[in-house]
């Protein structure tokens, strides 16, 4: 073996590079915040707007003088949606970068994997993923910002009741978001007097769903609930109309991107879905408590990045908002006190709703954070039927 010399030299060089490459700690004038987003990979439609939102937020905040007299430094890491990277990066952020808190990850799978890591190391984690397992059972240091699937399901069932629908078909994507929502629909249906005739899971990368929709049609359902967060939601809508399946379609709050409605085109008209008010910010009544914040976020995001705002970026906005508000309240980057302050957040207006946290509730949103929306001419509008 000739190579071992080469081998040992390379390893030594690597080690030398590592030891010199590492900067220790943070200096006294900045608060370091870690952010784990799936900027590339299969969940990039979540991670990319989240990253952009956080970067813009931090820049604006620092321009205004930061928080508690200190500047914020956000260290964004791209997990590409894989849990093992999330684990590695989380440990790195906590031990090496000594971050004050972590925002993200974008997907529930990743969030669940690092839940105990953050809790054990007493690092605040504010996840941007919706699954209820993230905050139930409650871990002392773990919070999340998106609305609960349970509330979305309850709102959907409420509309169904008004429309006299009680036999439904459920289809969902094979992702963390789809799974969490599907589980809630199945769990809550009996209590709402709704019967699920069929539940199917499709691949988020599928190119055509007419087959499975035929199967659903065969069951003579009165409505379909589709739970996913991927672009495939537009295909669902189109395929339904194409095979002539004319029952109401209920989407989840994962439909919160106007691009999806645009991609569905004419087929999109009439979709009913619950969503945060960000999507209809401008048409909210003037006295609505969320309106100023929503319009400000929407305008700043859209003018800066030249793309439509989505509720996904809003989850990251809420996460960093809750964190910085808590730091401001405490007046210093003290982990324990800030954690307590987050837990006692009340009446905080965010993009997803109004947060009222408690030691038992690390999410803080209620059913009213959702508005029932529909699609009209490729745009979102408030749903007014069935009341």
């Amino acid at each position: 073996m000739r190579n071992w010399k080469f081998f040992s030299i390379l390893l030594s060089v690597l080690f030398a590079a590592m030891s010199f490459g590492c900067k220790k700690g943070g200096d006294g004038d900045t608060i370091k915040i870690g952010a784990l987003f799936s900027v590339t990979g299969p969940a990039s439609f979540l991670g990319a707007p989240e990253k952009k939102t956080v970067e813009a937020f931090v820049e604006e905040l620092n321009a205004k003088g930061g928080v508690a007299g200190k500047k914020i430094e956000a260290i964004v890491k791209d997990t590409a949606g894989s849990p093992e990277k999330a684990v590695s990066f989380a440990k790195q952020l906590i031990e090496e970068n000594k971050v004050f808190a972590i925002i993200g990850p974008s997907t529930s799978g990743e969030s669940l994997q690092i839940k105990s890591i953050c809790d054990d190391s007493k690092t605040i984690l504010i996840s941007c993923a919706a699954a209820e397992l993230i905050v139930d059972p409650v871990a002392k240091y773990v919070f999340n910002t998106p609305q609960k699937d349970r509330h979305a399901v309850m709102r959907i069932f409420g509309v169904m009741k008004n429309l006299g629908i009680n036999k439904i078909g459920v289809i969902s994507a094979n992702t963390g978001f789809g799974k969490a929502g599907k589980d809630q629909v199945i769990k809550l249906a009996p209590g709402a007097g709704i019967q699920i005739l069929i539940s199917e899971v499709y691949d988020k990368d599928a190119t055509d769903l007419t087959g499975v929709l035929t199967k659903v049609r065969d069951k003579k359902v009165q409505a379909i609930v589709n739970w996913s967060i991927e672009p495939i939601q537009s295909i669902v809508v189109k395929n339904m109309k194409q095979i002539g399946l004319d029952v109401p379609l209920f989407q989840s709050h994962g439909f919160g991107n106007v691009k999806y409605a645009a991609a569905a085109g004419k087929a999109g008209t009439g979709i009913i879905f619950p969503a945060g008010r960000l999507l209809i910010a401008e048409s909210l009544p003037d006295g609505h408590p969320q309106k100023p914040l929503l319009v400000a976020y929407k305008n700043s995001y859209e003018s800066r990045y030249k793309e439509d705002v989505s509720t996904f970026g809003g989850h990251a906005y809420d996460a960093i908002l809750i964190l910085t508000k808590a730091i401001e309240k405490v007046g210093a980057a003290d982990s324990e006190k800030v954690r307590d302050a987050i837990e006692n957040t009340t009446g905080l207006v965010g993009t997803a709703g109004i947060y009222n946290m408690s030691p038992k509730n690390h999410n803080g949103l209620d059913e009213n954070s959702f508005e029932i929306l529909t699609v009209k001419d490729g745009k979102f509008a408030q749903y007014t039927g069935g009341k």
């Binding site: 590339t40 299969p42 990039s44 439609f45 990319a48 094979n174 199917e200 899971v201 499709y202 691949d203 990368d205 190119t207 055509d208 007419t210 087959g211 499975v212 929709l213 035929t214 199967k215 049609r217 065969d218 672009p231 495939i232 537009s234 295909i235 809508v237 189109k238 109309k241 194409q242 095979i243 002539g244 691009k259 999806y260 991609a263 569905a264 085109g265 004419k266 087929a267 999109g268 793309e307």
Partner: protein, 296 residues
């Protein structure tokens, strides 16, 4: 299952299958000349779709598609020129790895050139809710566009391969490189041509299917695996086989959906494919003897 649903399943199978078929054709062109499988074929589709969508904002749809096909063909030519042309007698393993590398790099480049968002071309006929009814089953007219494009591509390819000198030369390269070279065929040019051609066909396919499948920077790999499955199923090298196999896979998938949970659809198709590989390595339409003689 009522009879009209059987027709509906069949038609949704054909919808999905037409997409697999049109992807599979592209694989065969490079395979026919060089005996290698281009794992970056799916990325040609993605590029075609992305470029045409971008251009369609500035020009009429047919012009945008034509431009996308030409640009992607240029990309295919360049790729061959830069990465493949100068490698003498490449082994199959080496070519598999290089083309996989290319597919990853093109995909990541697309992510940084465009972004992660999903896009789609408008429907060529009608719109999202237009549908055609046959025997109580309904489907989008775009499916006919895909099938029609498949048919035209195959007819033209067959004429090209069997009635033109260039086409015959390309087939000669596949049959035996050395012999072809001794007959005065410039093998390297033939390989360049095959990459250009397959990129062009891939781009055209990417445009035609875009209204149905939507186009995103990472849609290539998923499509490529399906197309590759269809190409092997139909016997590598046979365009007609690819189309029949693509449609067949689509129909089998649709049939499997009607009985088992959709989540395992791909697992069923691939198990079937593995079965075919083990018992008929030449594919269902390929000749067993020819497959055994071929050097891999």
């Amino acid at each position: 299952m009522s009879p009209d649903n059987i027709v509906q399943y069949l038609i949704s199978g054909i919808t999905a299958g037409s997409i697999y078929a049109i992807v599979a054709i592209g694989f065969n062109i490079i395979y026919n000349t060089t005996g290698i499988i281009n794992f970056a074929q799916g990325e040609f589709l993605m590029l075609g779709g992305m470029i045409s969508i971008t251009l369609a904002q500035f020009m009429p749809l047919p012009a945008a598609i034509l431009a996308a096909v030409i640009i992607t063909a240029g990309v295919g030519f360049l790729i061959e020129l830069v990465f493949i042309r100068w490698i003498d007698s490449p082994s199959v393993l080496r070519m598999i790895i290089i083309t996989i590398g290319l597919s990853i790099v093109i995909r990541e480049a697309a992510l940084h050139i465009w972004d992660e968002k999903v896009r789609a071309l408008p429907y060529f006929t009608g719109n999202e809710i237009t549908s055609i009814e046959i025997l109580g089953a309904r489907f989008s007219p775009q499916v006919l566009w895909v099938l029609g494009t498949c048919a035209i591509i195959v007819i033209i390819l067959n004429i090209f391969y069997y009635y033109t000198l260039t086409g015959k030369s390309m087939r000669a390269c596949a049959a035996n490189r050395t012999a072809a070279s001794l007959c005065g065929i410039n093998i390297k040019n033939m390989v360049s041509l095959s990459f250009t051609l397959s990129a062009a066909i891939g781009a055209l396919a990417g445009c035609v299917i875009s209204p149905i499948t939507q186009t995103q920077y990472d849609c290539g790999a998923t499509l490529a695996i399906k197309g590759f499955t269809a190409a092997i199923f139909g016997g590598l090298g046979s365009s007609t086989g690819a189309i029949v196999a693509g449609l067949l896979i689509g129909v089998i998938e649709a049939a499997s959906i009607s009985i088992i949970p959709l989540a395992y659809k791909d697992a069923i198709t691939l198990t079937l494919l593995l079965g075919i590989l083990f018992f008929r390595p030449g594919g269902i339409f390929g000749s067993r003897e020819a497959a055994a003689l071929k050097e891999y």
